[in-house]
């Protein structure tokens, strides 16, 4: 087990290193640079060159990469080329919007997916089960942007229950206001992710129903539902953890879109703005952290699998 964890950790670090090189190189392909953006459209070539020199952009790429990695190893993500603000502090600031948004979306997705997924599997072939399944298929196909706009029109503009856009300037000092401004965005992502997740829960449940241990439980006198809950759900849980791990990346992409739509000052919107400003030092720091987060989630999911699933441990 420990050997497995260590091997897995080494892979994680290798993955991060490869990711850092890829992020660094692909960003350099983008046309335009931050010096041109700062100098704008009434500038002279001399002004642009002076800014480039001041920001250290005239150094060879390999030297720029080395200095970035040197910082990372020391735990320093660097600072924005445009504002001089440390990348880490900006990330912490914006994470206060994005992390709760992601967690809330996931919670909404699970609340929808688990009960309705199991129900839709148990009621398979009956009208209500079919309706649930078709409904989920339809919902999963709805574009996030359209869903968000509809929710805003109904709950913010017509009913006036929730804010239409933005995040309170006081942040989490007023938790209720902060939470209110995240509800519609989280619903938008959560409902659609939930509908997708629902189909995984349904098929995992169907699979579990057919398993030997559920059938044996039923043969020993449990009802089918009791057998499923006692013996089948742990195996369904494993599938859900795996899919959730994969969906973390999907939710991050979802927040990028949704933060634009709802004008939320989170990591997604910051990333889009920074790419627009060609603030590459900041963008690469942000991307590395996001990539690291997804890799760590994958790492944790794998470890949890080992712990929960006896079959994997025995296979060693």
């Amino acid at each position: 087990m420990i050997r497995y964890a260590l091997t897995r950790l080494a892979l994680l670090l290798l993955g991060l290193f490869v990711a850092s090189a890829l992020i660094f190189l692909t960003l350099r392909i983008l046309p335009g640079d931050v010096a041109q953006m700062i100098a704008g459209i009434n500038s002279t070539p001399e002004q642009i060159a002076a800014i480039r020199e001041r920001l250290g952009l005239d150094a060879p790429l390999i030297a720029q990469y080395a200095s970035w990695m040197g910082g990372i190893v020391r735990g320093d993500l660097g600072a924005s080329l445009v504002t001089g603000t440390p990348v880490a502090s900006e990330l912490v600031q914006k994470a206060q919007v994005t992390v709760p948004l992601g967690l809330l979306s996931m919670l909404i997705a699970l609340v929808i997916a688990i009960p309705f997924g199991v129900l839709s599997a148990l009621r398979r072939g009956r009208p209500d089960g079919t309706a649930l399944n078709v409904g989920a298929q339809a919902l999963a196909a709805v574009p996030v942007v359209w869903a968000g706009m509809m929710l805003v029109v109904v709950f913010a503009v017509w009913l006036g229950w929730l804010p239409a856009q933005g995040f309170p300037r006081s942040g989490w000092d007023q938790p209720w206001n902060a939470l209110r401004s995240l509800l519609l965005p989280a619903l938008t992502i959560g409902v659609i992710e939930g509908a997708m997740l629902l189909r995984f829960v349904r098929s995992a449940t169907l699979q579990a129903v057919g398993q030997d241990f559920v059938r044996t439980g039923a043969a020993k006198g449990l009802t089918r539902t009791q057998a499923l809950i006692r013996h089948g759900l742990p195996s369904v849980g494993l599938s859900i953890i795996t899919v959730l791990g994969l969906q973390v990346a999907g939710i991050i992409v979802g927040t990028v879109i949704i933060e634009q739509l709802f004008t939320l000052p989170g990591i997604g919107r910051m990333l889009v703005t920074d790419v627009g400003n060609r603030d590459l030092l900041k963008v690469q720091g942000e991307l590395l952290v996001l990539t690291g987060f997804v890799l760590v989630v994958g790492f944790v999911v794998d470890l949890v699998h080992r712990v929960i699933d006896p079959r994997q441990r025995e296979a060693e």
Binding site: G40, I41, P265, D279
Partner: protein, 503 residues
């Protein structure tokens, strides 16, 4: 009510402008005449479109900085009114010698910076000298004809090596801003000016908050704070306005006026602007070097249909918009006439022409669609290449690697780019350059404008570019809010007179 207030303000400003011609006046901003009680604790939420990358007014380009920082936070010896007149500000009066070589400014006393320190003549000399001597500073070149900058008592004197008819105007912009000598603030994220508002907070990627500066030398602001919310998406701004989260919406879409006015909480005010929707034509190579082809493109495009599609603004047929000196109606130079366009293309042997339009993607598809259809009607196939703005700067502005390009140039009085052959307009005309130089050296405003007018006519007659429309400032103002300027707000949003009435 709102409109009447705006009119009153306009009248006051016009009166100020009349006084100005006497050059020895003392205009302090007059309080707006309203019959309601101002809520002096009010916080006013203003939607803006484009957030500045950073706040360094000295080194970072972009109208997004000028729009909020100039006049509100930083001030110069002189400033401009929305009607584009020049009025004394940190100077109480100024005088220009008849030969146009000496400018004297009487500096106001009792002016404080936001950090509490008093403004001295030394700050003025230092600020202007810094801009003049530091080529990395924005607009440094605009002080290139200034020879010496000195102070004696409260009198600041600028002597020039040769007359510069644009100097006073340039001093209303970045080149003339007065900062505290040797200030050690980080200008990228902080500000220390003399204006009616202090920079209270910048939540990057979200909002900028200004607070009333209690020790302001003039009439203090009538609201406690202004929160600028950066909302790029128009629909989100509309939703925010309808949900009561915003008091003022700038940069609004004129096609959505009915929606925002529907429940009676907002009134949309349309104002003139110097936003020039410029279709640049690279005339250095290929068929576009033929003036007949360029004329054909201009005559193929139906400007009125573009104005109708945008929902506001006016047609423009030359490089100078109606708010700027040197404007003249040049619609006869290239009227919409597809038949004439086809004939010109045939004459030039340029049938079956294929061209590419490079356009920053945030401008959307309305204008490209009209251009594709209009040009298709005369036999030109137009490919549209939407790019990110940094890619536009790199490809079009720096490398001049383009055929047609579309950008909204917001800056007022920027004719100089037509006299600069290195500019991305690729226009190199000795006569225009000479007329512009003469205009610069003129000592009489009317003469300077007349010379610009001649030069602008040549630019249009050479079909150096096309102008699709002059933009309008579209500002939606909430009930109970007054004192919001409606002219050229992309350039300047002076909120000194902003009032919110008590509910």
């Amino acid at each position: 009510m709102l409109r009447r207030t705006a009119l009153t303000a306009t009248a006051l400003l016009a009166a100020g402008a009349l006084l100005l011609t006497a050059c020895t006046n003392d205009v302090t901003p007059a309080p707006t005449q309203t019959d309601v009680t101002p809520d002096t604790d009010a916080s006013v939420a203003v939607r803006l479109v484009l957030e500045p990358g950073n706040l360094d007014i000295r080194e970072t380009a972009g109208a997004a900085l000028d729009q909020i920082l100039v006049d509100n936070v930083y001030q110069g010896l002189v400033s401009r009114t929305p009607q584009q007149d020049i009025v004394p500000t940190l100077a109480s009066a100024y005088e220009i010698s008849p030969d146009g070589l000496t400018y004297t400014f009487e500096l106001r006393e009792g002016v404080a910076f936001h950090d509490g320190q008093e403004l001295t003549p030394a700050d003025v000399v230092w600020s202007l000298t810094q801009v003049k001597e530091n080529a990395a500073y924005r607009d440094s070149a605009r002080l290139s004809r200034v020879d010496t900058i000195t102070a004696e008592g409260q009198t600041i004197t600028l002597t020039l090596s040769e007359p510069d008819s644009t100097l006073l105007w340039n001093l209303t912009g970045r080149a003339g801003l007065i900062l505290k000598q040797d200030d050690d603030i980080d200008r990228k994220t902080a500000a220390n000016g003399t204006g009616p508002y202090t920079l209270a907070d910048w939540k990057q990627g979200d909002s900028i908050t200004f607070a009333r500066f209690a020790d302001y030398w003039g009439e203090p602001a009538q609201v406690a704070e202004v929160v600028f919310s950066y909302i790029p998406d128009t629909q989100a701004a509309l939703n925010g306005a309808l949900a009561g989260e915003l008091d003022v919406v700038t940069g609004f879409d004129a096609n959505l006026i009915d929606q925002i006015e529907a429940n009676g909480d907002f009134t949309v005010e349309l104002g003139e602007s110097t936003d020039k929707a410029t279709l640049a034509i690279n005339s250095t190579t290929g068929p576009l070097s033929d003036v007949r082809v360029r004329q054909a493109i201009r005559q193929a495009i139906d400007k009125q249909s573009i104005v109708d599609a945008i929902g506001a603004g006016q047609t423009q047929y030359g490089p100078i918009p109606s708010l700027d000196p040197g404007f003249e109606d040049l619609s006869a130079v290239a009227p919409f006439d597809p038949e004439a366009a086809r004939a010109l293309l045939a004459e030039a042997g340029a049938e079956d022409l294929s061209l590419t339009l490079t356009i920053p993607s945030f401008y959307g598809s309305t204008i490209p669609q009209i251009l594709v259809s209009n040009l298709n009607d005369v036999g030109i196939t137009l490919a549209v290449n939407p790019v990110e703005f940094p890619a536009w700067i790199n490809d079009v502005y720096i490398n001049q690697d383009f055929e047609l390009s579309y950008v909204l140039h917001t800056e007022a009085r920027d004719f100089e780019n037509w006299a600069n052959p290195a500019y991305y307009f690729t226009f190199d005309n000795a006569e225009v350059q000479s007329l512009f130089a003469q205009s610069l050296s003129a000592t009489d405003d009317a003469a300077a404008a007349a010379l610009l007018q001649q030069a602008a006519r040549i630019v249009s007659e050479e079909h150096a570019a096309d102008w699709l429309y002059t933009g309008a400032s579209v500002v939606a103002v909430g009930t109970g809010i007054a004192g919001v300027p409606s002219v050229n707000v992309n350039e300047r949003l002076n909120l000194a007179e902003l009032v919110k009435s008590q509910e």
